[in-house]
Structure formats: C-alpha cells, structure tokens
Subunit: 400 residues, 2 copies
C-alpha cells in the first residue's frame, strides 16, 4: 500500500477539484470548494447527530438515499445553520446553480457549509463565484479544495492511500477540516473522500461507518458538537476493477486503506486543534470490550484537567485516574497501569515516583497515554490535543 | 426566614468548629478542619460516583449506614486517593486519633480529604496537629473550618438560614469548597452542613438528596469529577423541636431552607470557578419534563464554546443553539427562544440582530442565559462560570 498525508500532486482518475476565495470570509482566504466526478459516483455519508442541523445537512440527509452523487460544493465562513427558510432556500439555490453550471442534474449535487452559526447565508456571493469555480476545476487541485474548507484550521488536511486490486492500482484520497467544536458523536467535522475504485453502495457505506467509528468518532477537541458535521465518500469506478461488494475479498483492503486515511485525518485535526501545542493519543488496553475501552479512552481524552496538565508538562496522573473512574465503566483501582510515552507512572493503581522522567517525556510534541485497566483483552484509542490559552483566545473572540 | 451567605459570627447550638494550618500545604495556609457536635447527631451523606474513590470516601460510605455522627475531620492539600493500603490505614488512624482526642467512639468520627491525588498521605503531620485542633474548637469558628477546606478556592464559602419551628428558631449552616474538577454527578465537591434542628434520618436523607439535585448536581465548572466529592449534613437536635419526620408539616420549611443553602453554596463555587470572571446561570423553560430541562441546561453550561464566548463578551448564540441541539433531548429549532440577561437574541430559532445590546449586557458579572424550548412547561437551572486563560494557568501547573 502506498500512502501519503503530506500533500503531493495526487490524481484520482475521473475526479476534478477547485477552491477559491469567493468573498465570504472577510480575510480574503479561500472559502469555496468544488469536488466533481466526470461520471456519477456511488456515495455514502455520515452526518451530525445534533438535533439542530444546518440547512445543507438537512438536504444532504434527504438526498443521500439515492446513493448517487457527482459533485459536492462546500463553503467555509458561514455555517448556514439557524438561518430558517431563507437558509434552506439558499442551500437549494446553490445546488441548482452548481448543477446548471456543471451541466448535470441537481439530484447529483450536494452542498456543505461550515463557519459561524446564525448569520444570513451569502447565497448571492456564492452564486457569483460559481462560474469561475467550475472553470478552475482540475485533477491537480485537491489541495485548493482542502484549503477552501478551512475555518480556524491552521493548515489543510489531505491523506491518501493506493491499493492494488487485480493488478490495478486504485486510489483513495480524503480532505478534512476541523479544529474546534469537535466531539466524538458520529462524524465530527467536514471530510470528503474520493476514490476511483468501483465499489457498491452497501460495501461503501459499511466501510465508511467502520472507518469513522475508529477515527472521527474517537476524536475530541472541546466536546462541542457542530450543527454541520459531514463525512462523505464518492466512488466513481474509473479504475474498472471488479466491483467490490460486501462479499468481495478486496473489501478488507479497501477498508484498511480507508481506516488509515480517516485516522490520518483525525490525527491531523487533533494536531491542529485550536490552540494546541501537543497531539495526545490515549490508548486503552485490557478492557472487557471494545466499547468499554473506547469509553475510557474518550473519558480521558475529554478531560480538561488531563489536557491542561499535558500542556503544563505536569505528570499529574491522578487526573487520568479520576477520568478513568468517572468513565462509567467498572474498573479496579488496583489493576490499573498508566504510562506516559514510555514512562510507567502508575503500576497496579499506585504511583511509581517516576514524575521526573515523565516530565522529560512531556517535552515531546506527540504524547501517548497508555492505560491498561487489566480486566480483559480489548483495546481502543482516542485522539485529542492539549488545552491552552490559545484555545481560549481563539474562542473568546471567534464570532466578532 | 433569616438568611446569610456572607460570613457573620453565626452560632449553631451544640456545634463547635476549628481550622488551622497543620503543615500539609506548602503555602502555610490552613489545611485541617474539625466539625464537632457536643452530642451524637443524625447524619446523611452523598458521595462521589467516581469508581476511583479516595480512602476517606470509602470509609465514610461504609460508616454512614449507622446514621450517627459526632465529628468530621477534614484536610486539604492531599486527596488521599490512589494511595493504596497505606492511604486506607492513614485515614483509619486519623479517625481513631481524632476520636481519642475528643473522647468519643471512633464510629462517630468521619474523615474527608481534598487536594492532589496519588501523593502519600501525611498521616503523621495530621496526627501531630490534632491536639491543637481540638483545643481550638469554638462555636464561633465556622469560618476557620471553611478556610481550612479550601484548595484552589480564592475565598471561603459559608451560607446559613434560620427557620421557625413551633416558635423556636432553628439554624442550618453550611460550608463548601470547590473551584475545579467539578461536574454534575452526585455531590461534586466538599460540603458540610450542620443544624440544631431535630430531624430523623429518613427525612434528613430525603432533604439532602433533593437539595443536592437542584444545586451541586446542576453545577459544572470543567466537567471533571473528583475522587473525593462529599456532601454531609449533621443534625444534633439541640433545638428540642418536635422531631421532623417525612410526614412532618415542617419538613417543607426545612427542605426549602436547605435548598437555598446548597444553591447559595453552588453559586459561590461557580463564582469562584478556577479562572472565572463571570458567573453564568442557564435557565431552561418550556421543556417536556424537569429532567429534559436539566439536561439541556447542563449541556449549555458544559459547553466550552459557550463559556469562552461569555468570557470574550461575544453574543455568539449559535454555540448555545448547537449545545441545545446535542443535549440529546428532542427540540424544534423553530420553537426556541434565547435571551442573554434581558436581551432576546433568538426568537423562534432565528437571530434577532440584537448583538450590540447583548454585548453591553455581557459587561455584567452575572450572566443569565434563558432558553425557552417551547415544548412543555417544565424548568431547570444550571450554574457555571466562564472559561478563561486563568483556568489554563491554574491547571497546567497545579501539581508541580
């Protein structure tokens, strides 16, 4: 399997991309992206479980039952959430105009928005930019689309893998955005994935759910769930491989490549968490079930006290113990081991007095908290970042 | 009903208090408190639901089935949690020595600890200070006990009420500590309440549960639950009133006074939240049930994005909508009204463009977010504080 997460000029046959500044963001940065497949593609999607959903999410959720898509138009700088009938009308209009501009049926066009909630949706501004956006479509512009979906992100997030199927090399590539308002319930940010591999909608859906469960659903920055979260994947079949179905021997390969991409992207989101100086990976071992392990991992990853301690290079393992204890999962204090990177801090529930070594380990940018709860054989891992003054600064003044 | 929350030299007949610096805290501040009743009192208690419990909490939970107490010894500066057999032995020793010093049976003595988790418990230091502590016992020293239980608190927290029962004036007074590691599950900090009113254990227990449910259990600072949380009430009957039982007409009076005291103390804890500059009260109206209203209120009170927005004086109501939406309670966007102090920001799910007035309202130190979800008639309120760089500073370096 070939892999990549830093940008290279990757081409996914049959797909073209564009990203430009339409004028939605005051900063003048790119804020409008388009993903286009030369032929209709099979699509699968996961959407926020928030009861308050943005207009484009409502439309996409209705739409996706058709399992077909040819284009996704995405804007940043405005969430089109809590915008009432006008917002719904705007989202519909953007879809219609994009379809017209591309010369394809509107049923095959999806839209997605991210940015501030409750501001009037700038339908006109976007419409005006559409012809130029379509003109810019290029097989080499994935990076521009990745930039145009950013909000408080400090860098674009792209990951791809290539796998061999009956001698042919297929590609899966994804872009994502997200740095705050992120918590682990369903898809927790925007992520768009494309592939030239032929796969049917059942298999694609199953693969996407599995991938999201161990990546985006195990990712927490501030435990605030957005109204706009969306993960979509389009498979256009340009590879001409034998169709992957739920019974295909190639599904496992496809799944593991997709799992890696979504974990890559989730990791990039945690690394780029608002104000973050450190990436934190919480690995829980020895739990009775995968779900128990996951709940413990997320409980620790969500703890503001653990996150501030990592920031302060303070090996305060008592906070990790407290977060394990309130996860809701039955644990036995005397069976718990905790390590920080490779320094064992807690053995059988008691401190090992290795705080000095742990303080040195905390100099690293990547922190791995390994917890063995000693009650079973199942594992899980969660991703987060440290909590710093930077998060406060960004979020105390984001709306203004 | 007479009331007070700022300190006055309140006396509760039959109770004596002490607080002094025993040398557990490096700062030299008071760190050892004693609450003593001249006669055995009826006791009720609520303890952390964290699976990892401090040694004194484990002992108190076994102990309290007897429903009798005469003294509580409390130390700050060390949590005696994750301290293994030595910690348990230390907690037992402190109880035995306190009982000996007071000349009462050890079964009537409870201990409680708060501070850093996982540090060896300073049994010797505390034992050495006990004789001096007992000598200092005085009916006028509630304030010293309130100071001695503080950790990152910036001020002592005391509240009392006086109620008339068949012509006699009874007193209920409480002290509390807590500024961080606070989340709404069971009692969420240390709180000790004493009263001279005669009340049986069933009625006392019911009153304490009810009071905690609408105060400490609706309070969130950082959503981290401690291993040491404890709320206890002792009733010594010195008032000689007709015994209050669950059927007594005076139980309602007792309950409302106790509710007010615990809400007062919860409010003081939120006001003194680590790094807080503002107290935030979230009032949810028009919900289908009290429990729905409570879950929505806590979802908003727990939102880091709402808390940072209040800090930044940013009337970003989209974050409030998002937090309502992910509370797990069924809501209808189009029925939701939101006000910030008296400025209506959202009407029927849409912004009212009153951001400027809201920004002025956010200059106040006390912020009330009122949410009407428009689906029923039930209300609830939750308490929290804003999230600032101060919280990060305190918690990045607390253990060191």
């Amino acid at each position: 399997m070939e892999r990549g997460s830093s940008f290279r000029n990757i081409v996914i046959p049959g797909f073209r991309f564009a990203g430009l500044p339409a004028g939605i963001k005051k900063s003048g940065h790119k804020d409008l992206a388009l993903i286009y497949s030369e032929e209709p593609a099979v699509v699968a999607g996961l959407f926020t479980t928030n009861r308050i959903k943005a207009a484009p999410v409502k439309l996409a959720m209705e739409h996706i039952v058709s399992r077909k898509a040819q284009a996704i138009i995405i804007n940043s700088g405005n969430a089109n959430a809590c915008t009432g009938e006008k917002g719904m009308k705007g989202a519909r209009e953007i879809i219609t105009c994009t379809a017209k501009e591309l010369g394809i049926p509107p049923e095959l066009v999806y839209s997605s928005s991210t940015g501030i909630i409750g501001r009037p949706f700038p339908t006109g501004v976007i419409k005006k930019a559409l012809p130029g956006l379509v003109r810019q479509l290029s097989p080499l512009s994935l990076k521009h689309a990745a930039s145009a979906i950013m909000t408080t992100d400090t860098r674009a997030k792209i990951s791809f893998r290539q796998i061999r199927i009956t001698g042919k090399k297929g590609t899966i590539a994804g872009i994502a955005k997200g740095a705050g308002m992120i918590r682990p319930d369903m898809a927790t940010m925007l992520c768009f994935i494309v592939t030239d591999i032929a796969i049917n909608s059942q298999a694609l859906d199953a693969a996407l759910r599995e991938a999201a469960n161990s990546s985006f659903n195990m990712l927490s920055i501030d435990n605030d769930m957005s109204t706009n979260d969306t993960v979509m994947i389009m498979a256009n079949g340009f590879l001409n491989n034998p169709l992957i179905t739920t019974r295909s021997p190639y599904l496992a390969n496809f799944k593991s490549a997709l799992n890696e991409i979504t974990y890559d992207l989730a990791r990039m989101i945690a690394e780029d968490g608002e104000g973050a100086t450190k990436l934190i990976e919480v690995i829980v071992k020895g739990a009775r079930s995968k779900s128990d392990a996951g709940r413990i991992a997320l409980s620790v990853a969500n703890s503001m006290l653990v996150k501030t301690a990592v920031y302060g290079r303070d090996p305060n393992w008592g906070r990790i113990m407290a977060a394990i204890g309130y996860s809701g999962i039955a644990v036995h204090e005397k069976k718990i081991d905790i390590s920080l990177n490779n320094v064992k801090l807690v053995s059988k529930g008691m401190g090992t007095n290795r705080e000095k070594a742990a303080r040195t380990a905390l100099l690293h940018k990547n922190i791995i908290i390994t917890i063995d709860v000693g009650t079973g054989k199942e594992n899980a891992r969660a991703l987060t970042c440290d909590l710093t003054e930077g998060y406060i600064k960004i979020n105390a003044h984001y709306g203004t």
